[in-house]
């Protein structure tokens, strides 16, 4: 197995250099490498099939077949198509409400609480007044965690250890934000399985009551094939406004991001790449496409 798609493609085309024109079969061989590369990057197999179908059509066009360096042309087509699928324009984040409400949802351990603090820090640096709300009443020390993070960035944290009623906690947090003139309230929800009906109902109740401007699905970049089920379920239940992709400082290719984007049509808005509160960035589709293909900076190649 090749780790890097360009190497794999170069190897595929090596056998056919010298021949002046590429044939349909050569392209098919190349597409097999593309398919394996995407599956190894954890892109969902349905997404891979659709993608390969589309890229094959493009590669069978004149430009690739007659090109002097077909492997580079194929890489270019693949990369461009992948970038296009990841979303071409920068996704806006809706912080217009008074206060604006951002709700963080996702599987256990995805990085929600840490990302809450990162977002708070991000908006604080834009001179917004932010309140963090501790809405995870289940995980041991979840409230302590958010409070510690809030303290480290000097952002207030609303918590209420006397009740397990999450809607009530969110309500009180939002009331507090209103009376204290905060611009943004960030709700740190507990981790939950997308197939856990009761826990998903809790999210729906919070959503219906407060209509957050942003509902961000926080997802670990290392997610496997289940990413599709996760994204689909959360999106169906909540009509999420976007995705935050976490732990990109690891070496997961992050192919799950492509499938999540594809099945929900929702933009990836932020990425995180470390445990520090400053390790948050706006999402860049081009960089993500290169990463999924395992090829560093593509721009030099083509």
């Amino acid at each position: 197995m090749f780790n890097n798609l360009s190497d794999a493609l170069a190897n595929t085309f090596k056998t056919i250099t010298g021949k002046s024109v590429l044939t349909e079969n050569n392209v098919k061989e190349a597409m097999e490498q593309v398919r394996l590369a995407l599956l190894s990057a954890d892109v969902h197999y349905d997404t891979v099939n659709d993608f390969v179908g589309e890229v094959t059509r493009q590669c069978l066009g004149e430009k690739v077949l007659k090109s002097v360096k077909p492997s580079e042309q194929v890489v270019k087509v693949v990369h461009e198509e992948l970038t296009r699928l990841m979303g071409t324009e920068e996704a806006e984040v809706d912080v217009s409400g008074k206060p604006a409400i951002i709700m963080m949802v996702g599987l256990h351990g995805a990085g929600k609480t840490t990302t809450c603090a990162k977002l708070a820090n991000f908006y604080k640096n834009q001179k917004k007044k932010v309140l963090l709300a501790a809405c995870d009443v289940y995980r041991p020390a979840a409230i302590d965690q958010l409070e510690a993070l809030g303290e480290s960035i000097n952002v207030p944290v609303f918590s209420d250890r006397s009740t397990p009623d999450v809607v009530q906690i969110a309500q009180n947090a939002i009331n507090t934000a209103k009376s204290e003139g905060q611009d943004i309230v960030i709700l740190d929800m507990a981790g939950r399985l997308q197939i856990d009906q009761d826990m998903v109902q809790e999210l729906i109740r919070v959503k219906e009551r407060f209509q957050p401007g942003e509902i961000l699905l926080t997802a670990d970049a290392a997610l496997g094939q289940e990413a599709v089920s996760v994204a689909t379920h959360f999106d169906k239940a909540l009509n999420i406004s976007g995705i935050v992709l976490t732990k990109l400082d690891g070496d997961a290719r992050g192919g799950a991001a492509l499938s999540m984007r594809k099945v929900t049509g929702k933009p990836i808005k932020f990425i995180t790449s470390g445990e520090k509160v400053t390790d948050l960035e706006k999402f860049r589709p081009e960089g993500m496409a290169s990463r999924i293909l395992g090829m560093g900076d593509i721009v030099q190649l083509v």
Binding site: N49, L107, G109, P140, A141, E147, L223, G224, R253, E275
Partner: protein, 310 residues
């Protein structure tokens, strides 16, 4: 009391139906098998996160059987896949190491959010149920409120926790914990560590440091270094196993969150490459949601056609 098999199956219920259906479709929709039939089977196996390499092995097995005319029903495909997975999972199995003369020291490692702290708590509970005395060491001094999290677990299951201050030296806490384990003469010492990405050399260096401290106190320890892997992880778990293996001699695997829809198939890929046994499966957030890993049950549960356990 939930039976192991049922709990195990319940955790994996999503898997078997989806996979089984894919295999059935091949039979109901195709007269003669060609490349696209194998693609369809391949997709089904990939969907369980078995990874490209293991999947290709299973497909090769199926192709061979098909060419020999051995495949008559979807059951036959399942049998081939089950046999291969069993063979991979059943190699190098052994029970959890025990230290008959002193404390058995277990070191928990893994990437961020995999479930180390929760598994530490659940494992302590299980050992306590078995009549063992347990001590926990909160060596994650890095993440916000990690210490508090383990202390909560300690209170919940009534097991003592040795902890220090946030930001203090993890190895120093390991040292205190070893001393305390000796003084208290406990049967088990479980050491929770901070989550880290294996790409972070600086953080990975902390692990050998903790190992040195442990070995100063107990030369044979840790008796198991347990890599905790999130069952919803894709192929990256393979890299986690490789890199943590290099940094701290992983000897055992625990796979968590199998109550979710993730199949944890990547543990098969890991086992295909490494000799460490899989000892535990996490099936929830409560103390009792930890089960011993059974390869036969796993392979059966993954492919069985039984209707889902409610």
């Amino acid at each position: 009391m939930k039976g192991i098999f049922n709990v195990f199956k319940k955790g994996l219920k999503k898997t078997k139906t989806a996979l089984f259906r894919s295999f059935e479709t091949v039979f109901s929709s195709v007269d003669k098998w060609d490349e696209s039939t194998y693609r369809q089977l391949e997709s089904a196996l990939i969907s369980a996160d078995l990874g490209v390499s293991v999947t290709q092995k299973i497909i090769a097995d199926i192709k061979e059987s098909y060419s020999l005319g051995e495949i008559k029903t979807s059951e036959d495909i399942i049998n081939i896949a089950t046999t291969r997975i069993n063979a991979i999972l059943s190699s190098d199995n052994r029970p959890l190491n025990e230290n008959p003369t002193g404390p058995t020291v277990l070191l928990m490692v893994g990437v961020n959010g995999a479930g180390k702290t929760t598994t530490t708590g659940k494992l302590a509970y299980k050992l306590k149920q078995d009549g063992k005395s347990v001590l926990l060491a909160a060596c994650d001094t890095f993440r916000a409120a990690a210490t508090e999290q383990l202390k909560h677990w300690g209170e919940r299951i009534d097991v003592p926790v040795i902890a220090g201050k946030h930001g203090s030296d993890a190895a120093a806490i390991a040292y205190d914990a070893c001393a305390s384990a000796k003084a208290k003469d406990v049967d088990y010492l479980i050491i929770d560590t901070a989550g880290r990405q294996h790409t972070r050399q600086d953080l990975m260096q902390e692990l050998p440091k903790i190992l040195r401290v442990i070995r100063k106190n107990f030369p044979e320890a840790p008796h198991e270094t347990i890599l905790v892997v999130d069952g919803s992880t894709g192929t990256n778990a393979l890299f986690q196993a490789r890199e943590f293996g290099k940094a701290c001699d992983v000897t055992s695997l625990a796979v968590t969150k199998l109550d979710g829809s993730g199949k944890g198939g990547v543990v098969v890929a890991i086992k295909d490459e490494h000799t460490f046994p899989i000892h535990f499966v996490g099936l929830g957030e409560s103390p009792e949601d930890l089960q011993p890993f059974d390869p036969v049950l796993y392979a059966e549960a993954i492919f069985s056609k039984d209707s889902p356990v409610a």
